[in-house]
């Protein structure tokens, strides 16, 4: 099931055509997006998602999103949803039509079912591979035109990395920088547990600030964990008590195998973190 609405509030048939071929979202991957998890009609972390949408818009020189309008739009799609209890709600905004600098952005929200493989992986964990992202940790601050840390629609590389993972018999990817630093997954944030401390790399190294990672950190802090934004190396992953990929649709998914090597069993710490995360919304 899919539910579609445009930012002006119009509900529309998701199986019908709505975009012109010269929309810059298509011709140039030029736009921004967010994916929000909705459970039982309640969107999770909508505020942080809209904050990040605004941050991406600023990085791409797009007009500042009207947060209230996007919230109404989210509500509109949620209200129409009659599918499974969990929905992935995509918020998408493109630069609009090519050749028209005054073009209004194309802005819509699309409610979608979550891939069953993603839901299964929350319980079973995933094998992941590390793949070189080819950037150095100082690049994001030095070269903002590379849009590192913006959630732009130009995700062809992220998708290609996931296909490379599949070729290597894995389901997900952890990108690394040229100096061996851990970056992020193609559509997730890396979280590492060591003792009662959670780590994630700082967004300044050119990665997306994670909405789900931030939620997990919030929940863990309330339960007495320490949390740190700190550079991580691939060696740190192999020696950790748990390596996780956090994202809206994944929630906290455990990495059980990295580059073909089984990681230490993290089922218990995973269960604890998954529970803590859920307490935020119960």
């Amino acid at each position: 099931m899919r539910v579609l609405a445009f930012l002006d509030g119009t509900l529309a048939d998701p199986d019908a055509a709505h975009l012109r071929v010269d929309d810059l979202g298509v011709l140039r991957g030029d736009g921004i997006f967010e994916t929000v998890l909705v459970v039982d009609g309640r969107p999770r972390e909508l505020g942080p998602h809209l904050d990040r949408l605004a941050r991406s818009a600023a990085m791409l020189d797009l007009p500042e999103p009207d947060g209230a309008a996007w919230e109404r739009l989210a509500r509109r799609v949620i209200d129409r949803w009659s599918g499974p209890a969990e929905m992935a709600l995509k918020l998408v905004c493109t630069r609009g039509r090519e050749g028209d600098p005054t073009a209004a952005p194309t802005a819509f929200a699309l409610g979608m079912e979550i891939d069953p493989a993603v839901i299964r992986a929350r319980a079973e964990g995933v094998a992941a591979v590390t793949l070189d992202r080819g950037i150095d940790p100082g690049l994001a601050e030095r070269a903002p035109w590379l849009l590192l840390g913006a959630k732009a629609l130009s995700y062809a590389v992220n998708m290609a990395a996931l296909r490379e993972a599949a070729r290597r018999g894995a389901a997900d990817v952890i990108f690394t920088a040229s100096d061996g630093s851990v970056l992020e997954g193609p559509t997730s944030t890396v979280v590492v547990a060591r003792g009662r401390t959670l780590y994630t790399p700082p967004p300044t190294i050119g990665i997306l600030p994670g909405t789900t990672q931030a939620a997990v950190f919030r929940a863990a802090e309330r339960a007495g964990w320490t949390t740190k934004l700190e550079p991580l190396r691939v060696e740190d992953l192999h020696g950790a008590d748990g390596v996780f990929l956090a994202s809206s649709v994944r929630k906290v998914t455990r990495v059980h195998t990295l580059d073909g090597t089984p990681l230490p069993d993290s089922t218990e710490v995973h269960a604890e973190l998954a529970d803590l995360y859920e307490t935020l919304y119960s």
Copy 2:
């Protein structure tokens, strides 16, 4: 004026909506494209463009394009064109609809007018700035999942670089690698003249093989020039007899100013190369 046709031969209204919002071309910038220059109804370098489309398809694990069908499609749009003598013909192929691995690609050709600023720049030249692309020259071969050298629809960074150039008072960009090597423009190939030799960086360093650059090299060789695929450094640009950006719609456009510094006058060598290029099609 715009003329649109789909790969099955259907002509369509370019002002109407034709794409679903969940096309992966929109949601993920996941697809490939080419831009072909058509002059007086004759497409230039169509064969090399279709070869490059096939190369991009292979890099993105997309089905191999049917060259004959794309040629017919190009012809169909050209035959309908009643605009200016010159047309930019975009060939676009996306991965099709999200969530359906068997989805047929979305494939179309769109004839468009060329931006008057681009046409003016062919005569007047442009100011360009160098911008760090953040990659090292060995990366493309080491990490094919980064799609360096594929002409994917994910061009948000290329567009952001052009906006950064505008902020710096320039019209175009020459990307550089982390070691100072010259890469390419966001939508063009860098060509340097020194004496009677033309240089361009080798595609193996992670750039697109240029169709117009190859045509210019062919024409120049016939006229007795030497041509070389060779790594270039930014210093080489400042000391050259001519620095050019080559692309279908630009043809050979002279860079008269680099990072705010005027380059040696290259109007004569530009005139010669521009003439040589035109002889290929006369």
